[in-house]
Amino acid sequence: MTTSSNVTFAIKENKLLSILLRPRLYLMLIGFLIFLAFWHLAVDVWKLPRFSQMPGLFTVLQELTNPNPVYGLSVYTAEYYTHIIASCIRVFVAFALATALGVPLGLFMGWSTKIREYLFPVFEMLRPIPILAWVPLAIIMFTSLEAPVIFLAFLASFFVTTLNTMLGVESIDESYFRAAQCLGANDRQVFIHVVVPGAMPFIFTGLQISIGVCWFSLVAAEMVSGQYGLGYVINNSYTNVRYPTIIIGMVTLGFVGYITSALVRMVGNRLMQWRMREIAMSNN
């Protein structure tokens, strides 16, 4: 008994140690350090010509952590969180709608040749239209302040999700369909037990791209219209010559965007245990 518990302990300890010793962690830190050092040097030390208007690293850090920010926005102000929450809610609504509509549509388009033949050409014509080109239409269609912004974020996300889901269904090996037929599954059962799980890896790859473009088009939309949100912060600070606040908005976007796509990845990994184990096996 004692021996076995000692062994488990040793393995656990090694695991922690191996995480700390992993070169990945240090490479990542070094990467960040190089980036920040360049920023600082370019603005404050070398004073490169293109960087003359740019706020320096320490100016931004000071502003970000200042209880009484010079330009009105820091981690100590409630307004900062109002903007973050406003953007997050919009992304959440847009992303949820895009997923709820895009995944089923993509599944049916991939599964049924007929549905694909009806919808795919229209889809392929609308998809390349840049989201910014939709702005006037969005404002005309939706009278409220929130709806056009959410609509634009939704649209970008929706195209990506639908397309990836459709490709996911098309990627499923024919022999799985045949095996299911042999084993007596009817169409509905094939859909639930083969089409949906078989497309899942593509769906989640798609959702990660989708949440990215969702943020992208949200910020574009917020810069055009809106009273809150991180895109609004960036645009408004630009108009009012509050340059450090622009950087605060950008850094916050990067951070929040990273967290949301990590969340999507986590959900995907939870739902696809089989895939995780397969990958773990092939790494051994």
């Binding site: 042999c182 007596g184 599954a185 895939r275």
Partner: protein, 274 residues
């Protein structure tokens, strides 16, 4: 002897018509398979063996002739494509266990989908069949965690769960190394002794065919039809030492020339793997 799973293939013709250039894959092919027999189909790659299997399974239509099973027409005049069903189950070349389902859910898939057994009954049956096949303990693994040899055995158990009349095996051991293959052969025969199901087994490995088969049909290169059919008069149960016996070697000699001839023809015609 079992009375289920007798297959008679009569004058089957299959023409593929990609881009208007008709390619005859199977040409007036006739073959009788007795109930409970292991029939091995040997032929060069791409000769149309799989086409024949697909016609029996109901994945493809045929252009002429007919296929009957136990006196009932699967496909033939007026019905070019058989309907796939759990009386004829295919074990695929690259394996088709659902990677997103664990072994138990894969094995119970057939009876549960068809509503023949409840999940609990299917589980009980699955566990006992897996124990029979020496697969106990892997029921909670996903297929991706198993070796390819074990995956093939699981797939055969998944098929047998449906009590099929015939198992259709499409070069199931092609990707395995030759040592694993010998183990798989004995395991398949073990399963066969217990279940006495008709087996339609496609291969291009003559030794595999003679070791496993009761009947061996050597097919011509495209278009496909039997060139030579023989009964392997070595009694079951067979152990692997059979391959060094005099009778086995005689049969090898008798057949290898025919197989080699077709392989050369197929090679000359530039057939690709298929």
């Amino acid at each position: 002897m079992k009375t289920r799973g007798q297959i008679s293939i009569k004058d089957v013709v299959k023409i593929y018509n990609p881009d208007g250039a008709a390619v005859m894959a199977v040409d007036h092919c006739s073959l009788e398979i007795a109930a409970g027999e292991i029939c091995m189909i040997v032929g060069p790659s791409g000769c149309g063996k799989t086409t024949l299997l697909n016609a029996i399974a109901g994945f493809h239509s045929i252009n002429g002739g007919s296929i009957h099973m136990d006196g009932e027409m699967l496909c033939g005049p007026g019905k070019p494509k058989a309907s796939p069903g759990s009386d004829r189950i295919v074990v695929f070349q690259n394996g088709a266990l659902f990677p997103w389902k664990n072994v138990l859910d894969n094995v119970t898939f057939g009876p549960v989908m068809q509503g023949k057994l409840t999940a609990a009954e299917a589980k009980e049956k699955a566990l006992s069949m897996m124990a029979d096949a020496g697969l106990s303990g892997s029921e909670n693994n996903y297929p991706g965690e198993l070796s390819s040899g074990v995956r093939r055995r699981v797939e055969i158990v998944r098929a047998l769960m449906n009590d099929p009349a015939v198992l259709l095996l499409d070069e199931p051991y092609r990707a395995l190394d030759s040592l694993t293959k010998t183990v798989m052969h004995e395991a398949l025969l073990d399963i066969y002794y217990k279940n006495k199901v008709t087996i339609f087994f496609i291969t291009h490995d003559l030794q595999e065919a003679l070791f496993l088969g009761n009947k061996v049909a050597i097919m011509t290169s495209r278009p496909c039809k039997p060139k030579k059919t023989l009964i392997v008069d070595i009694p079951y149960p067979r152990s692997y030492s059979v391959v060094t016996d005099k009778r086995f070697r005689e049969l090898m000699e008798e057949t290898s020339e025919a197989v080699h001839e077709e392989a050369k023809k197929s090679f000359a015609a530039g057939e690709r793997e298929g």
